[in-house]
Amino acid sequence: MSELSEPAVVRPIAHAPCRHWRVEYGAVDTTGRLVAAAPNDEIALLTIDVAGQSANALSREVMEEFDRMLSDIANRGVQGLVIRSAKASGFIAGADVHEFEHVADAAQAAHLARQGQIVLDRLPAFSFPSVALIHGFCLGGGLEVALACTYRVADQGPATRFGLPEVRLGIHPGFAGTVRLPRLIGHLPALDLMMTGRSIDARAARRLGLVDDVVPERHALYAAQIFIRRRPKPGRAPWSRRLPGLAPLRPLVARLLARRARKQADADHYPAPYRIIELWRRQASAEDEAASLGELLVGRTSRNLVHVFALGEELKRRGRLHAHDIQSVHVVGAGTMGADIAILAAAQGFKVSLQDRTPEILAQAVARANKFFQRRFKDARQRQAAMDRLTPDLAGHGLRRADLVIEAIVEKLDAKRALFAHIEQVAKPDAVLATNTSSIPLETIAQSLRDPSRLLGLHFFNPVTRMQLVELVRGKQTAESALNRARAWTVAIDRLPLDVVSSPGFLVNRVLTPYLLEAVKLIEEGVSATAIDEAAVNFGMPVGPIELADTVGLDICLAVAETLSGPLGVPVPQELREFVAQGRLGKKTGHGFYRYDANGRPRKSRRTNDARLRRHLPIMERLVLRLLNEAMVCLREGIVDGPDAVDAGMVYGTGFAPYLGGPMCYAESLGATGIGHSLYRLSQEYGERFSPDPGWSQPELLTRSADASA
């Protein structure tokens, strides 16, 4: 929102001035500004501007001040109230997540939620209407504030988003959103928004009836006043969307929704979506909602999801400490990874040139880009601009003016060396040079450079557009300035940069490999692949290890395993070698451990006559302990700088059961001593590879620094 001009008159306030809110009184003239007006013609313009933050979050202090402001306004006698935000980033981003950690128990959480509800309940109780003026993001508690107002007017820009993402933190709305939203937009749309946590743009919000109008910024205030003066009938969902809420139908609808939810998330691991259904089914009151929120907030899943969320925010914060100074990017290698990296960068506004050896490969990348931009951008002009930013560059002309060069060619040392030698000659002297290698040591590639300090690793994960993690690999000689720029750039393309030290497999592949190899060992012992994968999915992994291996590609798994077999001291399974030799490389060749159909879906056997199946626990115990053990090795060897980094890497890089908070979080909950004993027991039964790492007896390794998890 643009800067507000000084109100015509400033009235003294009876109590201490508020830090996060200010109110002005007047009327909006045809220039769209608030000017002095006659006392019985005034509206109140209440602006939220949380002190010291770039985005508005509803902490307890902010809500208390809100309450005081509302009292002032109530006493004043105005025609209407307009609520807006002074922050460029948006309206209100939700409750203050940082405060969650300090909540001691369910009762306290429920009380805080209830207090917030009471404040918001004042808005519909006023004799005058209230209008929420929304630009940018309006999420969670912020949307609940808007729902409490009589009307909602949204800015038409592309940054405007509405959503209730609480479910992604293991909770649900707590400021009466579960009560108000279904009434306004209908039951099924409301449940969809609450259970998925997804956000919608202004146009979609208008269509649902979530907002009453969508206007350009220059008319926002004037439009709000017109709503106050004209007082149209407040919006309500049409009867067709109110239908599923009929009392006799609710149990049936609830059962259907729960069944669909079970396909995505296990009820024991992720209780929040099921709680939302339950609250809706019994037409719960706001008090019920607050009590339920209290329980969930202090539960293990929510604590862990908040922890994971905070890890992501911290990675972003570190990235934003420096400027990237990057305008043009040149990507060499237009295979799936290279093309997706280029597509992502172009989508986020960078000029990208994409190079490869033949026009066929580039043409495939162009087609991929087109599909991605079609989905990502609703506006045709935005799609065209993104396609214009991505240049297929057969001859590599873009190299000369690139500020960042990313190599994503085949995993062959000689090819990479030759390419980087050429790149160094042609690129700008201060351009950052990055490699997407997953297995070749940075130092070996850097040997071909005159100035090896320019080289770092930017290791993306497949599929690039969905996996948020990027391992930012630091070689022995890598310059800090290059790392800072690369880290900042990674955040600029909406990814999470994780600092790792150059070593075989870095963090994620290294920790995953023993887990995958153990799964292959299980297959060698006769357990069916389906059983193994089922056990892992039941545990909470997004896919099982066998399907994961097939997806990554068995040739890559073999390469990584061979690279790591030295440091890990683990033999590479013969079966893996055989498969690769036969050309059974997994999903990309249609046949790996599983066979794949035309859509890339595995055909899994339903045979469950395997005796070991009955005992799920040993499968997962073996798999997970191998993973945890290797994570401890990485921690001890300083591959990353702490347990937070391990958690962030494994959750964001490979989807390690988020409800557990990450491997180290899980380890903490099991107890280092307990893990040591279990590993020892397994090593007696299954072999050396289960020997507990010395790190388990060093509790200082598992301590988290105070600011890191903030």
Partner: protein, 463 residues
């Protein structure tokens, strides 16, 4: 006389030309211009802000200067003083297409742009306008060329339908609207194909092809001669592509569906005299001699050039492809518009005191085989020289091996706004490959005009 600045052409690219079929082509005119412009700009020498030193050390520049003339270096599009494009059928959403293209190519909003239209020579007009601005000292660096998406020429409602729609829009009340509705006739649905209209001269009411028939009759050009010339055009272009001569000039064009084009899609390697002989006449049905085989093809394509003043060349240390020495326009009888080049070239050569023998190569747009052969005949004819050109002696025809030596529009297509720029681009690249010399690029223009430009590629600079 005011001292004029010299004008240099630095480099250029074009897209492959895509033959237009009955459906809309995959690219709009601005898409094509952007596709041509991006690699061209990518190849440009890096131009930093004006007061700064260049980004290369002395030894870097020595190496760069020593590379083949077409060394490709980065270029900041915001350095242009202007963007000028020729385009005849811009889409409705591409008003002043030069500006749209300039912004899409990354020129910042302070680079002005305008679009020119001189029918078939719009591309040449764009480069000529750029040259004029530079000669006058009003610009130092101009992006000029042409673009056309003929396959997207609009299909229009006819005038009766437009009138009826207007009536419906204005009608008020139930009765008013009913009355307006009743005015509808099935005949209102008859569409107008703007492309066909565009290819017909409105003053003399002859299609372009019919003007070619007129010339074939006047200069005794037989069907076989036309077909033979057409076949030669295809063969010459095929040879040029196969030998890799076109690689420097034609950039790969990528489609959104994963397909790509490296060559002009209208080129027919399998063409032969018997196939051409089977084709029926298109413009004078039943009795005519001009067929789709010996005419240029309706195509989509773009061609762009970087045009620079001497000061810009020196300041940015730009490699130079050739020099623009001058241009001229001539008006002729619209019924015989194909003879436009005869007059324009005569005018130009006389003014710049150059003779046909001095020319190493001529690129004469192949609107129709009959039209090209008619021009040659007219240049050779003493009667024509005396009666129409006011010259004592004929200029003389171009030796056939120096006229369109790598084929022309019959094989690659004639996107009307683009061809003028393509001819200049190809002339320069071709002369450069052959060791340099003087060349002329010339086109006939629907409506009865001709345009011609004289260019030179330095002998020493080539190879």
């Amino acid at each position: 006389m005011i001292a004029q600045n010299r004008v240099f052409i630095v480099d250029g690219t074009r897209t492959p030309f895509l033959k237009a079929r009955t459906e809309q082509g995959p690219f709009s005119a601005s898409d094509l211009a952007v596709a041509a412009g991006r690699p061209l700009l990518a190849r440009m020498p890096f131009l930093k802000a004006r007061t700064e030193q260049g980004p290369f050390s002395a030894s870097d520049l020595a190496v760069a200067a020593g590379r083949p003339l077409l060394a490709r270096m980065p270029f900041d599009p915001s350095e242009f003083d202007e963007v000028i494009l020729g385009c005849v059928i811009a889409g409705a959403e591409e008003a002043n297409i030069a500006r749209v293209v300039a912004l899409r190519l990354g020129c910042d909003e302070q680079v002005p742009a305008f679009t020119v239209q001189r029918n078939c020579a719009s591309g040449l007009q764009a480069v000529a306008s750029a040259a004029e601005r530079i000669q006058l000292g009003q610009a130092d660096l101009v992006l000029a060329g042409g673009t056309e998406a003929m396959s997207r020429a609009p299909i229009l409602w006819n005038a009766r339908m437009v009138a009826w729609l207007g009536g419906m829009f204005r009608a008020r009340g139930m009765f008013g609207r009913a009355r307006a509705l009743a005015g509808f006739r099935v005949g209102h649905l008859q569409p107008v194909y703007s492309l066909l209209l565009g290819l017909t001269d409105p003053i003399v009411n002859l299609s372009m092809g019919q003007t070619a028939e007129v010339l074939a009759h006047r200069f005794d050009i037989a069907r076989e001669a036309q077909d033979a010339y057409a076949l030669q055009s295809h063969q010459r272009l095929a040879v040029a592509y196969d030998a890799g001569y076109m690689a420097d000039e034609v950039e790969v064009l990528y489609r959104a569906n994963g397909k790509f084009d490296t060559e002009d899609t209208g080129l027919r390697r399998d063409s032969d005299m018997s196939k051409l002989a089977k084709l029926k006449p298109v413009f004078d049905p039943k009795y005519g001699q001009v067929t789709s085989g010996n005419s240029s093809q309706v195509t989509d394509g773009a061609a762009l050039l970087v045009v620079a003043s001497e000061a810009a060349v020196q300041r940015h240390r730009l490699p130079v492809l050739g020099e623009w020495l001058g241009h001229d326009w001539a008006g002729v009888d619209p019924r015989q518009m194909g003879l436009g080049p005869v007059h324009a070239v005569a005018k130009l050569l006389k003014r710049l005191q150059v003779s046909m023998h001095d020319l190493a190569q001529m690129e004469l747009n192949e609107a129709f085989a009959a039209q090209v052969l008619a021009c040659q005949a007219a240049w050779d004819s003493a009667d024509y020289a005396r009666a129409e050109l006011g010259l004592d002696a004929p200029l003389g025809a171009m030796p056939p091996e120096r006229l369109n030596p790598e084929g022309g529009a019959i094989a690659c297509g004639h996107p009307i706004g683009t061809s003028g720029a393509r001819l200049v681009l190809h002339l320069l690249k071709s002369l450069q490959r052959k060791g340099g010399g003087l060349g002329v690029a010339t086109l006939c223009i629907g409506g009865g005009q001709g345009g011609a430009a004289l260019l030179r590629v330095r002998e020493a600079a080539a190879a």
